[in-house]
Amino acid sequence: MEFPALLKRGATAGAAGGFSAALVMWLVVEPVIRRALAVEEARSGAHHHQEEPLVSRTVQVWGGAVTALVVGVIFGVVFTVAFARLRSRLPASTELGRSLVLAAIGFGVLTLLPALHIPANPPGIGEPATVNQRALIYVLTILLGLLGVGAVLAADRFLRGVMTDPVRVSLDVLVGALWVIALLMFVPESPDKVPADVPADLLWEFRLASLVQLAAMWLVVGVVFGLLVDGRSRRTRRVARSTA
């Protein structure tokens, strides 16, 4: 399959993933955000608040949904490039399998890893003064995670032929695990403290809801991309061959 055809499928899968994310956000995340905003409002005088909000809550909910959708398409595009490049290294025998493996890697490195190190917070927790520092930690976590994938791939290539497959795969897993442990230990943590008036269950539910939303996105991207690439490729090739 030529790249433009692949990209079309990737963008479609991304849109489907983004739509699922927006749906989950509306159903699961927004109710928790509303609870967090109530906590924030109950906090009197502790924080300076703008008299008139720049953007109304309604616009924020819609803006959030549209953002989730657009982010899905963006992930679809990048997913396509990664899939094209890494195709031969993804341990599966079908395109659907490879797509699902890549989605699992994406979820692990781009979602789960930052969620473990610098987890999502509902409104009313982040300190505005530290937002750039937290953004740096977040990006650093992801970049080092991607580097970890490179390290595992390099280890895998190095060990191929040197030892039996089960030993090689086990060592790959070990390299990945050690990388994640080192990353979680040595990358600086968020400087923010969770205020005492934020209930623990609210925090936990928000983080879980955030993970569910992102998991939905990755799952749908992986499945839809895999199905589109797996099924259609044969059909278009047959047509191409008969017209050639």
């Binding site: 990209l7 953007v55 963006i74 094209a84 031969s88 917070n121 928000f206 939303q213």
Partner: protein
């Protein structure tokens, strides 16, 4: 279990240069939507973008205030 059809044999697909450029643009757009807090845009524009994408930033787990 290995696929015998050449269409499903696992070789890397060629990624044209424009596609790499597109991926870069996509990542930049992702930055604007989720991370921009005044590094590139003026403070008021950045604040507006931040508020507009606010809920998604929280939900996607990106640092926000």
């Amino acid at each position: 279990m290995t696929e015998l059809s050449p269409a499903t044999s696992a070789t890397p697909l060629h990624v044209p240069t424009w596609a790499w450029a597109l991926a870069l643009v996509a990542v930049f757009a992702l930055y604007l939507l989720t991370q921009e807090n005044g590094a590139l845009l003026s403070a008021s524009n950045a604040m507006y973008l931040h508020e507009l994408t606010h809920d998604a930033r929280h939900a996607l787990g990106v640092p926000c205030h």
